[in-house]
């Protein structure tokens, strides 16, 4: 565990780079969250209508309808039901919808008549009223179903109100899902930028640690010690795995705090996370390869920028894949980031793409093949280096 401990002692000195990138990423996320929050709030307000009821029936059934609508929309009460006062408020946009429940409403319900039971007035310059109409119609549809099954009116009113609450909850979820399919998923954007951040953070903060251990003089000094090479490699390898998982978790947790996962189903988030974990394996193996070269700090920064920015531009991190030219995407297939982004696209529903489990698994497999290739290169280089050192 000596090298494992030393790995993290060295990591402490390079943690600044890691934090800079994570902080930049957090800022990006906060900006993105606010953009998304803004759009969703306006949508919610569009559904919430300020309304009042002129209840001429004043029965249990009419009260049940008012109570149900008040759970969905904002009920404004007017003393005495002064029509001119209500009209004034409608003019000044204090209310958008006036529902009139005529006398005999409850009787009509008992008789099984659900058509044209209520009348309404609404502002024509607002779409909100149409949502309100939908809610009223849905309520009567549900009520008609319960009444048809010979329930008492009281039971039907109660059950209709309950089921409508659930139906409306599903509707909200459905709207969110549609939003995802339209390419506005914050988790989609989060994991898209993840590709760039992960390369940058790991290359710039983990490579120097690995390069320290690969330093020729230090490696020679350690070689002539009592420590067996396998134990040395195990310590460094374990350090690299723990470090990279830690970085990965920090970014994921930061995403949680930034509200990146709130609009997508948990299954989608889980698949995106799994995709990012496989991509993490690719980046770790790539970092191991790059760190095998004795690079200067400047050379490392240059390589990190070339690989990080280059693959991000080519593979669809900064510019969506569907906007890239065909010949560019043909080249980008040779980068692991392309396959990571492919999976992200189908999970986030970007550009209307639908999720396909087979394609998802294929993309994961291609990423793992890249990891395997990097590991093979690393071991070949390691063996050659060792042979060269003792030659």
């Amino acid at each position: 565990m000596l090298n494992f401990k030393t790995f993290f002692q060295i990591a402490k000195k390079h943690i600044g780079t890691c934090f800079i990138y994570v902080i930049i990423f957090l800022i990006l996320m906060v900006v993105m969250t606010n953009i998304n929050k803004g759009s969703s709030t306006s949508k919610f307000e569009a559904k919430s209508v300020k309304f009042t009821v002129i209840d001429e029936d004043d029965t249990v059934a009419s009260h049940a309808l008012t109570d149900y609508l008040a759970t969905k929309h904002k009920y404004i009460s007017f003393e005495g039901k002064d029509i001119s006062k209500i009209q004034d408020n409608m003019y000044y946009e204090e209310i958008s919808y006036v529902l009139t429940i005529p006398k005999g409403y409850e009787e009509e319900l008992k008789n099984g008549n659900f058509k044209n039971l209520v009348t309404h007035s609404m502002r024509t310059d607002s779409a909100a009223g149409y949502f309100f109409n939908q809610d009223v119609d849905s309520y009567f549809r549900a009520l008609s179903v319960y009444q048809a099954s010979s329930e008492s009116l009281e039971d039907s009113l109660s059950k209709a109100a309950n089921v409508m609450e659930k139906v409306n909850a599903n509707e909200v979820e459905m709207i969110t899902f549609e939003k995802t399919n339209n390419g506005n998923s914050p988790s989609g954007y989060f994991f898209q930028y993840f590709a760039y951040i992960l390369i940058s953070v790991l290359l710039l903060s983990m490579s120097p640690i690995l390069m320290t251990f690969h330093n020729r003089d230090l490696a020679a000094r350690i070689s002539c010690s009592y420590l067996k090479p396998r134990r040395k490699a195990a310590g460094i390898g374990l350090g690299a795995i723990c470090y990279s998982i830690l970085v990965w978790l920090i970014i994921l947790i930061a995403g949680g705090f930034g509200g990146m996962y709130r609009y997508d189903p948990i299954e989608t988030i889980a698949l995106m996370t799994a995709n990012s974990f496989v991509y993490l394996i690719v980046i770790v193996t790539m970092t191991l390869c790059i760190a095998s070269f004795s690079l200067s700090e400047h050379a490392l920064q240059l390589i990190a920028n070339v690989i990080g920015l280059g693959s991000s531009f080519l593979c669809g991190v900064f510019v969506p894949q569907w906007m890239l030219a065909e010949n560019v995407t043909r080249i980008s297939r040779f980068f692991p980031a392309y396959w990571f982004i492919r999976n992200n696209n189908i999970l986030a529903g970007f550009n209307g793409e639908a999720f396909n489990p087979d394609e998802y698994l294929l993309n994961l497999g291609v990423q793992l093949l890249f990891a395997l290739a990097f590991m093979t290169i690393y071991f070949v280089m390691h063996v050659q280096k060792k042979a060269k050192a003792v030659a």
């Binding site: 000596l2 402490k12 000195k13 320290t212 003089d217 230090l218 000094r221 002539c224 010690s225 009592y226």
Partner: protein
Amino acid sequence: MNETAVKVKELVKRYRELLAVDHLNLEIKQGEIFGLLGPNGSGKTTTINCILSLLSYDNGEIEIFEKPMKADAYDIKAKIGVVMQNVAVFEELTVQENIDYFCGLYINDKQLRKQYVEEAIQFTGLEDFRKFYPKKLSGGLLRRLNIACGIAHKPKLIILDEPTVAVDPQSRNRILEGIMELNRQGATIIYTSHYMEEVEQICSRIAIIDNGKCIAQGTAEELKKLIKKREIITIDILSVTADDIEALKALPHVYSVTFEDSKLTILCDGGSHNLVRVLDYLQGKEYSFGHIHSALPTLNDVFLEITGKELRD
């Protein structure tokens, strides 16, 4: 102690066409400070790297503590301390952390390691710098840290490869005193250097290496006896005649007399009272002279006479 610490037999190491080590034979006894002296590129570090199994070699045998030394001979490696020519420490770790790391390569017990690290810090005089990072240390302190990392685990055999390169005289003296102290504590030392004064000062036996070959081996005195030159007399004098030069050459033990730039140099091959005889002759001829210097031969003279070139070439 007469047991052999290191035995190198017919060692040959080639780098393609270059013969870096040429049938080298060494036998280092336990408790010795053994010096490997030679100019840069003579094969000292290659020999050390072969001894440590850091390099493979083309021919020969190496034994340490009477066991064959191989890359996987960890029982032998546990007894060796190495101080590399290039300072090999972690830039990201403090002085104390570095010593603890290198001690930890050999010692697992935390308490014992703590004690050893503290002793190494005190031994190398790094008490005030334990929290310093290597970048903040001077060249001399850095070399002392390098040594502390190599000796902290109390090895029986310590190999120091040019540990005083680019070190100020004060730090150099401290390092040399430290090496002698380690030897007094029982460690066998192999010390490579191209500084003949250092080697002469601390080593009980010396091997002079050139072009990968051991050209001479023995104590400093034994090595000096190998050459004809035993005393060098230098006298500042304005002029001297050719007849007087011939007369000086005829004096007992004198075998070479040269006069150049108002400096008369007389080489003697042994004997005693050579300086008195030379001065008697010059006074008899009523020469007036200035600065007079008589010196015994150095290891550089040994090297010069054997190889025909200066040790520092």
